[in-house]
């Protein structure tokens, strides 16, 4: 098994959070028994282990705080394919990326895989399929996705990663291997009995399943053992294999509709949610976001690869619809709602060819890109310490209006420029504070904390998809109280009694 000493500057000491950690050795196991060996040795020698694969997280989950790193890269690729009552599933090793999985499915490269149920390969060859989780960063690993319960725009219709996990294999730091299929082990009287004395008490807090939430480990009276591990940020075990479900693929048509102002977009989205129309996702751009794109296009007219944004547009909503006969009925409904809020089917863009739809996604991506460019410019001009500050808060849908008001009031109170865009369908909008000088930073930090508090008070989550990692530990106690934090620690005490795995993530001892 490859192992080497980590030098400073090694990519294994950092991730997309840009935090830098420290660690001594890098172990790269090629199979499960090597993982077991490393974990047993580490426990024996009192070394901490941080699990790492693609390092695309933004909260430092893979950044080591001492000890050694377990690099999972060698455990990649797909193993098998099968089918059960819920549909086709692919058995993957943890470091396989979403990109690789998508490529495997689109090329239908199933014939080299183990057939886990008879006839699965042949049947899958004939069925158009796709993996419905789109975590935006497609170079992230499935193992990482499961550990963080990754979500993204498509969560609106398909739910987060959790909904697509069929089975996982977990190695505990004690060396015990758990092979858990959904439905096998369910909590009874608030206890999950995993056998051999591993009984975990389910936390008593309200996990807020109704909203997009990536804060803390999952809790519910009938918690499935699989769900205990999904989103646990690696603090209770190492994933060595997983089965993920695929969904039947259907052609899609992408749409962007323009509205006169911010409020008309919320109105449209709210009415649309109450109608029979089910888009694949609903993404929102406020007037500030559109202006930012317009600004970027002055210096670079080809910035988005799209025509000019209509002059009168003050906000926009982006959504995909299934492209079949039903779409025209949906358009009828959408047209009528849009007219109520000053929009119309004329003030829109649509595209159904694959490469055309990519232009729409590029347009969506141009908002964060513009923000990034803007920040880079200011950084150069004013202060190198200036960085981007964006929120990741979600609230229940019926509280979205109130939350929008709070965003406006709070940011106005602290005199901060901002743009809002994101997953409006999930009540999960990204508010990007456009920091102009170092002077803004402190006010922005205060504003951020106030907004997080407000989101929680409205029954929302301060971290809807980015997770807690090593950056946002305080949110656990803010949201679930000291008791909640203690309950998570108690679960870790049972499954990782030596506190060997991913120390610093989610809870601190």
């Amino acid at each position: 098994m490859p192992a080497r000493k980590l030098e400073s500057g090694s990519p294994y000491l950092s991730d997309e959070s840009k935090m830098t950690g420290r660690a001594d050795m890098l172990y790269m196991p090629e199979n499960e028994s090597e993982v077991i060996g490393i974990l047993k040795d580490s426990v024996k020698n009192g070394r901490k282990i941080t699990v790492s694969s693609m390092r695309t997280g933004v909260c430092g989950g893979a950044v080591p705080e001492g000890g050694d790193v377990l690099g999972m890269e060698m455990m990649n690729g797909a193993v098998g394919i099968g089918k059960d009552d819920c549909g086709f599933f692919i058995r993957v090793r943890p470091a396989m990326t979403v990109n690789e999985l998508n490529a495997l499915i689109s090329k239908k490269a199933f014939s080299d895989l183990d057939e886990l149920t008879p006839g699965a390969v042949e049947e899958a060859m004939k069925t158009p399929l796709f993996y419905p989780v789109d975590p935006t960063e497609l170079n992230s690993s499935i193992g990482g996705n499961i550990s963080t319960n990754a979500s993204g725009p498509r969560t609106f219709k398909y739910g987060p990663t959790r909904n697509w996990v069929r089975r996982i294999r977990i190695v505990l730091s004690t060396g015990k291997v758990l092979d858990l299929k959904r439905g096998d082990v369910i909590a009874k009287d608030n206890v999950l009995d995993l056998g051999e004395g591993y009984a975990v008490r389910v936390p008593s807090y309200d996990f807020r399943l109704g909203i997009k939430n990536a804060t803390g480990i999952m809790a519910s009276p009938d918690l499935d053992a699989v769900d205990l591990f999904v989103g646990s940020e690696g603090i209770i075990g190492v994933i060595t294999e997983a089965d993920v479900y695929l969904a039947p693929w259907h052609p899609l048509i992408s749409n962007i509709m323009f509205f006169p102002d911010d409020v008309s977009s919320y109105g449209f989205v709210e009415d649309l949610r109450d109608s029979d129309v089910v888009p694949e996702f609903l993404e929102y751009f406020d007037g500030g976001s559109l202006n930012l794109i317009r600004e970027s296009r002055i210096s670079d007219p080809k910035f988005t690869g799209m025509p000019d944004i209509p002059e009168k547009a003050g906000s926009a909503v982006f959504f995909d619809l299934p492209y079949d006969g039903s779409v025209y009925g949906s358009y009828d409904v959408i047209g009528k709602i849009a007219e109520k809020y000053g929009g119309s089917l004329d003030d829109s863009w649509c595209g159904h060819e694959q490469n055309d739809r990519q232009r729409f996604f590029a347009f969506r991506h141009s908002v964060p890109q513009s923000i990034f460019d803007h920040v880079a410019k200011i950084k150069q001009k004013n202060d190198v310490n200036i960085h981007k500050m964006g929120t990741d808060m979600s609230v229940p849908l019926d509280k979205l209006d109130r939350m929008m008001e709070i965003y406006r009031e709070t940011l106005k109170k602290y005199d901060l420029r901002y743009v809002i865009f994101g997953h409006i369908g999930n009540g999960h909008l990204h508010v990007e504070i456009m920091i102009k000088s170092m002077d803004d930073v402190d006010r922005a930090k205060t504003a951020y904390r106030e907004l997080a508090r407000a989101a929680m008070d409205l029954g929302g989550s301060p971290s809807a998809e980015h997770g807690i990692g090593k950056l946002k530990n305080e949110y656990i106690t803010m949201m679930y109280g000291e008791k909640g934090a203690e309950e998570i620690k108690a679960a870790k005490d049972v499954l990782d009694p030596t506190w060997t795995l991913n120390v610093g993530n989610m809870v601190i001892r």
């Binding site: 990109n99 170079n139 670079d300 007219p301 080809k302 690869g305």
Partner: protein
């Protein structure tokens, strides 16, 4: 059907030049054409006050001479200024040169050139017609092929002959497949990709015959303006070192790359996406719809490597690619693949060289 754009009798719309319905020849094995020898359009390039034969014309004369010792015909357009080129044309193997004479320097008109070439072809009945795959060559060739009711294979990278039968090889499907193609009628026509075939050694003192022809087309289009662009500074196909940029670089890196290239005595080229973005002119684009390059060192920054692009660089001697994506398809064709941030590495190179 009458033809309005040209006269000269070369314009007929019947099926084949033997007057038979198309397909009859093949079907009944009547293809007893007497076609023989090769015909080549000698393209000229004006540089300042001087005029010279285009490299690709020389390359395809050399190739034809090597494959066959049948008669070689050349067709040259222009006024008295092209006369000094005769000797050179003969030295590369032309036996008979048809000089389509104009009063002044010849103005390139695809309709006229194609009709004149058809006129000469009908006279000499060649087995093979080769045209250089330059922009003008690729415009004339299909028009000529339709005039002669014959097939045409574009952008060939390999040629071979069996008797008078020509086998033409070209990349298809964006370079994913190399197809070998034969013609089912005479003359067998192909355009050849420039700078694939070697420049032949001239046979100094070799002689040939010159025959003068008059241009045969009457109705000409009106050219309102024609601006010649400087070619020397934009000809990436001759560069020894190319710093090439793709979608994965920032706009500011274009300037950085220019500085690096000038220090290394090279040029900056790019992939299609930067042309689309308007950051670089089309003359710098490498790839199938751009151009093929054959530098000693090709360094691709942030180019993922579309099949077209990969096809455009396959004559480069050494290819280094820098890409943040460890699975970028360009990996398949390069000698060294550096996984890293293209912009940062460009900045670093710039610092070292300044």
């Amino acid at each position: 059907m009458g033809c309005e754009s040209c006269s000269g009798g070369s314009c007929s719309t019947d099926g084949g030049k033997d007057g038979l319905p198309p397909g009859m020849l093949q079907q009944y094995d009547l293809n007893q054409s007497t076609a023989d020898g090769g015909l080549v359009w000698i393209e000229t390039v004006v540089q300042g006050d001087s005029i010279r034969i285009s490299d690709v014309s020389v390359q395809l004369l050399g190739k034809l001479r090597k494959m066959s010792d049948a008669r070689l015909f050349g067709v040259l357009f222009g006024g008295p200024e092209v006369k000094p080129l005769y000797d050179e044309i003969f030295s590369y193997g032309v036996d008979t040169l048809y000089h389509v004479r104009t009063r002044g320097p010849s103005v390139y008109r695809p309709e006229v050139y194609a009709d004149c070439l058809a006129d000469v072809s009908n006279r000499v009945n060649p087995a093979v017609i080769l045209i250089g795959g330059t922009l003008r060559g690729r415009e004339i060739a299909p028009r000529l092929a339709a005039s002669l009711s014959t097939g045409l294979t574009a952008d060939c990278t390999e040629l071979s002959m069996d008797g008078r039968d020509l086998l033409m090889t070209r990349p298809a499907f964006g370079g994913n497949i190399i197809a070998t193609i034969s013609a089912t009628s005479f003359p067998q026509m192909a355009t050849l990709r420039p700078d694939i075939f070697p420049m032949p050694e001239p046979e100094i003192g070799r002689k040939g015959t010159v025959i003068y022809r008059e241009p045969v087309c009457s109705k000409q289009k009106e050219i309102i303006s024609s601006v010649m662009k400087k070619t020397s500074e934009i000809d990436i196909s001759k560069a020894k070192v190319l710093i090439s940029l793709g979608n994965g670089v920032r706009r500011s890196s274009v300037e950085t790359a220019e500085r690096i290239a000038s220090k290394l005595g090279g040029m900056v080229s790019c992939s299609r996406s930067l042309v689309d973005k308007g950051w670089m002119p089309m003359s710098r684009q490498v790839g199938q719809s751009g151009r093929s390059v054959s530098p000693d060192i090709y360094i691709a920054f942030g180019i993922s490597g579309s099949v077209q692009h990969k096809a455009g660089i396959n004559s480069a001697k050494k290819i280094i690619a820098v890409n943040i994506d460890p699975d970028a398809p360009i990996k398949d064709v390069c000698d060294e693949f550096i996984v890293g941030d293209a912009d940062l590495i460009l900045e670093e190179l710039d610092r070292r060289l300044s």
